[in-house]
């Protein structure tokens, strides 16, 4: 189900009231032209699934945080930030999830320079 970035919070609220109370996963796909963020939701009683897709421009992508709606979103959003460099607006600045991960640009983007000579961190 396609969702605009601005309408994300409202639709997330709606889905929660409609019974989609379980957030399965937040992940993103970097097809070079655009960055798609996917939210997998599920209604535990009926078992049906629903995915919200948000289209973002790859340059400085940012997504509003839905942590206050789905408590489980906290860690997923922080992983999104470190793996894709997508800014998460509207929440406290999270500590780095992955230990000692500063200074390395997001690896899961397609333009990630592969096999850069790494230096054993002393």
């Amino acid at each position: 189900m396609k969702v605009e970035k601005e309408a994300l919070l409202k639709t997330a609220e709606e889905m929660k009231n409609k019974g989609f109370s379980y957030l399965v996963k937040i992940t993103a796909v970097d097809n070079i032209s655009s960055l798609v963020v996917l939210y997998f939701l599920r209604n535990l009683n009926t078992g049906e699934e629903e995915t919200l897709e948000v289209e973002l421009s790859p340059v400085d992508a940012s997504v509003p945080s839905i942590m206050h709606i789905y408590k489980a979103a906290d860690w997923y959003e922080r992983e999104l930030k470190e793996m894709f460099g997508i800014e998460i607006t509207g929440r406290s600045a999270p500590r780095l999830l992955l230990e000692k991960w500063n200074g390395i640009e997001p690896p899961l983007r397609k333009n990630f320079e592969w096999g850069k000579p790494y230096k054993a961190m002393d």
Binding site: K100, W114, Y118, A120, M121, D122
Partner: protein
């Protein structure tokens, strides 16, 4: 490892001679001969005891840690072969069995743990990931093998190597401690 001790002793005896010469004293013959006797006797016993009591320290990183647990479990009973079940503190253990891939962010921890272990200490690189980075050698966060960080004594091939391989590797390490395999 044992070579380290030889030059340590040579160093010690050189210092003793230098200080004795400085103060113009004659080395105390009786005492010197006594220390030789005890050293000769104890060196035999000490190497024997070091050979026969190798305590691994708990350092399971990843999938090889599962095989490490099997190594300690009932079928291949580790305690049978003088490898007491894993001592938790690095202070009281001799062997550090590195089981799993080594990432860049864990290097400070490995180094601190290695320094905490007491002097005659050995490292066993258990499994492909510890010897050469294993299937992840191209990853951006992996160190290709523990030997870039620590001096390694025994490498164990296999992914994951069977617990019996580890038993054989530790026996080889014991031979090395006993001094009949150099380097």
């Amino acid at each position: 490892m044992t070579t380290e001790f030889e030059n340590a002793e040579k160093e010690m005896s050189r210092l003793v001679e230098a200080s004795l010469k400085k103060y113009g004293l004659k080395p105390n013959v009786l005492f010197a001969r006594l220390s030789d006797i005890t050293k000769a006797a104890s060196s035999g016993l000490i190497t024997w005891s070091r050979k026969n009591s190798v305590w691994p320290s708990l350092f399971g990183l990843a999938c090889c840690a599962m095989e490490l647990m099997d190594f300690g479990s009932a079928r291949i009973d580790a305690e049978r072969g003088s490898y007491l079940l894993f001592r938790a503190t690095p202070r009281q253990s001799d062997v550090m069995i590195v089981a799993g891939w080594v990432t860049k962010s864990i290097i400070p921890e490995i180094k601190r743990m290695y320094e905490q272990m007491m002097k005659p200490r050995y490292v066993v690189a258990y499994g492909e990931c510890a010897t050469s980075g294993g299937p992840w050698f191209e990853s951006y966060n992996i160190i290709r093998g523990i030997d870039q960080v620590l001096p390694v004594d025994v490498y164990v091939a296999g992914c994951p190597p069977k617990p019996e391989n580890l038993f054989a590797a530790l026996l080889k390490l014991q031979k090395k401690i006993g001094g009949n395999i150099e380097g």
